[in-house]
């Protein structure tokens, strides 16, 4: 396992990424408050792999994605793509670079221009990044629609004429249109029904193989994550709590939060209805006012005074690391 990992070429390196959002103060005299949406995370994405980010809602997954895309300027930290610091790029270079890193957004309703037909949306993507000569565009568009399972007639329809899942597929087609190297899939398949989801997942896998694509896959659906990922990263309250290969993580979860997550997966199997579950206690802490020490201590069944006082470091081996004082 170790050997394969080291051999791989890092394509995206994130170091010490922080993204804080200011929060409105109630009065002038209150101290300045911030949401630490992403609080000092570092990880490396290797070429050709799928790295998933899971974690509870609001833990900073989308924010991480947006920071990588340079949609919001990160508060701190560097993002290197193929060794180049994205921050150091000129506007023009950055624009070119964007073709390599694509995104499929969580919310398909908001991410399509209501005035553009599908044809325009796709065509524009191809034209901007100049990936397909105009004469080939029409053919390519049909291909793309076919990949994502939309009828050809969709080309001349407008986003509001589609259902949620259909819109998501338009978003996927748009991302694929520019032949990216990395795709950040922010809940890209959450809105899809299973049959399409299966198609899309297969498609993503196939594309990955054929074109050596790299995915940063953000999802809650752990079965999907398990299916698609090579490695999985677990986030909690803006911090990384566990990272490891799919097998390491699903078979020997180290962090108590990961364990709880795994046990909560709903299973499409009526017989296992009364399965043993780790039900987390305590309130979900707020990123506005995160707990001291280990961020998870308020809900952790194993928490001790130590956890309250000290932030545990990432420890582990063979590419499997977790942030807990009490790793077995």
């Amino acid at each position: 396992m170790t050997t394969t990992l080291t051999k791989r070429k890092p394509i995206l390196e994130i170091k010490g990424l922080k993204q804080y959002f200011p929060v409105k103060r109630e009065s002038l005299f209150q101290p300045r408050q911030e949401v630490k949406a992403v609080d000092d995370i570092s990880f490396t994405l290797f070429e050709g792999e799928t790295l998933s980010i899971v974690g509870e809602s609001g833990c900073g997954k989308s924010t991480t994605g947006r920071a990588i895309l340079q949609l919001d300027k990160p508060t701190e930290g560097t993002i290197k793509y193929n060794g180049v610091d994205l921050n150091s790029l000129s506007k023009k270079e950055m624009r070119k670079m964007r073709g390599d890193i694509q995104v499929i957004f969580q919310d398909p309703f908001a991410s399509l221009n209501p005035r553009q037909t599908v044809r325009k949306i796709l065509k524009e993507a191809m034209t901007i990044q100049k990936v397909v000569p105009p004469s080939q565009q029409e053919k390519r568009m049909r291909e793309l629609l076919d990949y994502v399972g939309l009828p050809i007639i969709s080309l001349d329809r407008l986003p509001h004429e589609f259902s949620g899942g259909q819109r998501q597929r338009i978003g996927i087609a748009r991302a694929l249109a520019v032949n990216p190297k990395i795709i950040i899939c922010d809940e890209a398949v959450s809105a899809l029904d299973v049959s399409i989801q299966a198609q899309i997942l297969n498609l993503l896998k196939r594309l990955q193989k054929e074109f050596h694509l790299t995915y940063l896959f953000i999802s809650h659906d752990l079965s999907v994550v398990r299916h698609i990922s090579d490695r999985v990263m677990v986030m909690y309250l803006g911090k990384l709590v566990e990272v490891g290969s799919k097998h390491q993580l699903f078979q020997q979860p180290a962090h108590p939060y990961t364990k709880a997550l795994l046990s909560a997966i709903p299973v499409a199997d009526i017989t296992t209805k009364s399965r043993e579950r780790i039900i987390l206690k305590g309130d979900v802490p707020s990123p506005l006012n995160p707990p001291s020490g280990c961020k998870f201590h308020t809900r952790c069944p194993l928490a001790t005074e130590l956890c309250k006082a000290e932030l545990p470091p990432m420890i582990g081996n063979e590419g499997h690391f977790a942030r807990c004082h009490y790793l077995q």
Binding site: V23, V54, S62, E161, G165, S195, L222, P266, I270
Partner: protein, 334 residues
């Protein structure tokens, strides 16, 4: 079941008309919902799940959409014939809805707490302060940390999952008799999802609430639903109890769905998929709408449209494979 019927939908048809023709988004749907019962609706994206639920609240965008036929009766009263004022009383109070798209369904410029409190105030005699308190409680209930602070924030300041939980809190705030949840947990992580599902179950027990749960997460369906309607291209193709569905899926589409699921405990290189695509709404295939994609389709399937037949075990299937054991019973199978 001896429980009272709260909502009965029969032959509901909602069509969209446009230059290119008529989209039959919902094309003759029947189902009943009892109190304390959860009905799951699953199906291909675009098959009309959301439109069915919007039709129940009479919120289909019109024009171009229109409910062209059918009845929807809430405790015996036909919603489609209610005055706008009566309808206001129904909405948010007797039937409330969690919308699929949390970003655009929340007013971008009003603090989320206010949006919940407002729903409470129209239907309950509470003053501003009390309603606000209740709203904050609701946010807490759906697992939003620091609810007092979050209540004062506006939707864009919340993450996708939080927004969805706000929607849920809003829908549950008035203790409705019927809750329509349109993919309420898609954006939630599993621990929160579990929490929410538990909350819904608890509330259901307490209030005898009937729930229509639209999702494509079959895991959630298995966990939560009593009955399931599987929709395909505007029609119900299979309607049965959850147990029957998961132990013995009958319609080829249903079994196709089941097999498309990624497995949690085994590695698959490729997921199983159904061939082909959802038919274009303007260009419905002749005969059975699923026939072009059906691995078991026969010649008959391509010309003749099957009807919804009730089987011995009470489930209803729209497929010629099962038409041999047609039983002329009512829709009610229990």
């Amino acid at each position: 079941m001896s429980k009272e019927v709260v909502l009965e939908v029969s032959n509901l048809k909602t069509h969209f008309s446009s230059k290119n023709g008529v989209t039959k988004a919902v094309d003759g749907i029947d189902f009943v919902l009892h109190e304390s019962e959860t009905l799951g609706i699953v199906g291909e994206s675009g098959c009309g799940k959301s439109m069915t639920s919007l039709s129940i609240l009479r919120l289909v965008p019109s024009p171009p959409g229109e409910i062209v036929d059918g009845t929807i009766s809430l405790k015996g009263k036909n919603i489609l014939q209610m005055s706008e004022k009566e309808m206001r009383h129904v909405r948010g109070n007797q039937i409330s809805m969690i919308f699929q798209e949390p970003m655009t369904s929340l007013n971008p410029v009003i603090p989320v707490g206010e949006q919940i409190a407002e729903a409470i105030r129209v239907h309950q005699r509470l003053n501003k302060k009390e309603a606000w308190k209740k709203a904050v409680e609701m946010l807490e209930l759906v697992g939003i940390p620091s609810p007092e602070k979050r209540a004062k924030q506006e939707p864009f300041q919340l993450s996708g999952g939080m927004r969805q939980r706000v929607m849920i809190a809003m829908a549950l705030a008035c203790n409705p008799e019927v809750l329509i949840a349109d993919e309420p947990t898609t954006a939630l992580d599993v621990t929160i999802q579990a929490q929410i599902l538990k909350l819904m179950k608890d509330l259901q027990k307490k209030l005898n609430m009937g729930i229509i749960f639209i999702t494509h997460d079959l895991g959630v369906v298995a966990e939560l639903c009593d009955k399931v309607a599987v929709m395909y291209a505007g029609q119900i193709v299979e309607y049965s109890t959850a147990e029957q569905l998961f132990t013995n899926p009958k319609h080829p589409y249903t079994s196709g769905l089941m097999s498309s699921l990624p497995k949690l405990h085994e590695d698959q290189e490729e997921l199983q998929t159904m061939k082909g695509n959802v038919p274009s709404p303007y260009d419905m295939p002749k005969g059975c709408r699923f026939s072009p994609r059906c691995p078991l389709a026969t010649a008959q399937c391509h010309v003749e449209e099957p009807s919804l037949n009730t089987l011995d075990d009470g489930s209803q299937i729209r497929c010629f494979l099962y038409s041999q054991n047609i039983q002329q019973k009512g829709v009610e199978a229990e």
